[in-house]
Symmetry: C2
Subunit: 331 residues, 2 copies
DNA sequence: TTGTAGGCGTTATCAT
DNA sequence: ATGATAACGCCTACAA
């Protein structure tokens, strides 16, 4: 019964047509639910397809139709809850528009990111969503000139070829710092474990807010692999720290526990992205929220607009929000 | 200069051949680096391709070659660190074998999981890696009969059509319980937030270990959305809990903090999967480690073996390991 | 070393 | 309502 599939050969639409006793064009129409097919032949075709275990070959379909019905998402890293919300949004909107979503994992590696983008383009995705600020500008330019591309992170100077949908990282960092100032903190630090454009924008926000308040400013960059030194922080009098994301904040809270530093009493901590982790930690984490799901949905719409003919680049900026939890004291 | 790309038409190999002044077959050979092409015409072709911004169309290539060079990975959920390690392994091995990896997100939803699997099969991936125990058996059977498929989770009764590579969940749970018993615990509970086959296997292990030790057994299932009730646990005298994964354990530790329950003093906690989260929590989490990266790598090899002709199903079981940290007392 | 020609599985146009 | 037939972009014998 599976004999027909032997030798690795999968049934084609011709096999289906033969078995149903119709032409392949009719089979094609019936399988796609086209109008103008008699009920009887439709049933014949559908039954034959079922019996043979027929699956459309999307390579062939994509080739002749010129569109793949695919939206590609390339992520900077898989285990980043921030990305999860975005993918959820992309997937939700794509489903409504009858498109399918495939994901590529850039593994925090510019080379791999480029490989993934190449793969997507060669697969002729109808649109490309990039969630990373580590993609070389040149790669973005080329991608954007070949397929509707939208970047979902802050970019210092986004190429004209791509759409961007981001949340205002400068403002978000300002929000966080202002919250700390209102709570009475005077020595505020920014701690980052990544040197991306995103992090740079947040640094700008921190500097801006602290300058306005005429307070001293401490910027710390601790590369992945290196240990965070809380002692040093405390010694320099820092009593509040904004982290580049929730994960980094989790590290800080963990170290504070270990070293008997009270959070928020001796050290207030704020994360960024407001991921599920923020609610999971103890004390729960004050964080900056971005509308990830909506941003993902908008990305798909941006692609659809491009396909429909829009030529100017989209520059959309969402306003982040402060979510106060227990890792900072109420003002 | 981009004029040639106008009207949405992308350059094809014929455009490249024309511009290089050679036949399309020669262009094809040159582009793929085939032997038997003169240096001069190779350069001509490569230059032309570069100038035109040529990209191979993998639909066309896949159609004529019968293989796509793609490995599809379908994940139960994106924000699960356990999956991340597996994908890393798959991607690493695939790269060595010159294949590309695309990922589908099942969003913890059997229907969506099936959609993703369908998408992959229609894309004619050369192999399918499924990391979910929520896929209906029938879907696995069909997938396995159409493309080399390997499932990377525990399956109660795996279909003959698919390969399985899993770690021994029964044994892992036993390990955890035995560790707790040795540390002097008498009232041990298992807490799950999911009713998968995976969780069931772990329950089996817990029951086995506790029966052997002639100790009482408490199995708790708290569905997503519902709150975990630590009070109730304590009231019933439970002084140690094994969770279905690190995420659930994180919730428990958080509740313990809130309710002033000492971990591990009053309540010992063990997670499962030994994800990055385990090291991030305070107290750091004792957990059961699975060789995720290796399992991912083996999955790709299993696919390659199938492609090379193997017909018997692969049943590979890895032995998990206990990683003791601070959320349980040393015996 | 290079070119010609046929076909992969599907859709779409044009007849019938 | 149905059926031939011509693409789609690429690879690969086979011929030259």
């Amino acid at each position: 019964m599976v004999a027909e599939l032997a030798a690795g050969r999968r049934p084609t639409i011709i096999d289906v047509a033969k078995r149903a006793g119709v032409s392949k064009s009719l089979a094609s129409r019936a399988l796609r639910g086209d109008a103008g097919v008699s009920t009887s032949s439709r049933d014949l075709v559908l039954d034959a397809a079922q019996e043979l275990g027929y699956r459309p070959n999307s390579a062939a379909r994509s080739l002749v139709r010129g569109v793949s019905g695919l939206v590609g998402v390339v992520l900077n890293q898989l285990d980043n809850q921030h990305h999860t919300g975005i993918v959820q949004g992309v997937q939700g909107r794509a489903k409504e528009l009858n498109a399918r979503v495939i994901i590529g994992n850039g593994a925090q590696n510019p080379e791999e990111l480029q490989r993934q983008i190449d793969t997507m383009i060669e697969l002729r995705v109808d649109g490309l969503v990039i969630v990373s600020s580590w993609v070389p500008r040149q790669v973005l330019e080329r991608a954007g000139s070949e397929v509707p591309t939208v970047v979902l992170t802050h970019l210092a100077d986004p190429p004209a070829e791509v759409d961007t949908i981001a949340s205002d990282d400068v403002y978000g960092a300002q929000l966080a710092v202002e919250h700390l100032i209102q709570a009475g903190h005077q020595r505020i630090a920014y701690l980052s474990r990544s040197a991306s454009a995103t992090s740079q924008a947040r640094i700008d926000g921190v500097v801006l807010a602290l300058e306005t308040a005429q307070l001293p400013c401490t910027i710390l960059q601790v590369d992945a692999g290196e240990d965070i030194n809380l002692q040093e922080l405390s010694a320099s009098g820092v009593d509040a720290v904004l982290c580049n994301n929730d994960l980094t904040a989790a590290e800080v809270i963990r170290l504070a526990h270990e070293q008997q530093v009270q959070v928020p009493g001796q050290l207030a901590v704020i994360g960024y992205d407001n991921t599920a982790l923020a609610r999971l930690l103890y004390p729960s984490l004050t964080s900056i929220d971005q509308p990830q799901v909506n941003m993902g949905r908008r990305a798909v719409d941006a692609i659809a607009e491009r396909t429909a003919g829009r030529t100017e680049a989209l520059r959309e900026l969402y306003t982040p929000q402060l979510v106060v939890r227990s890792s900072t004291a109420q003002p």
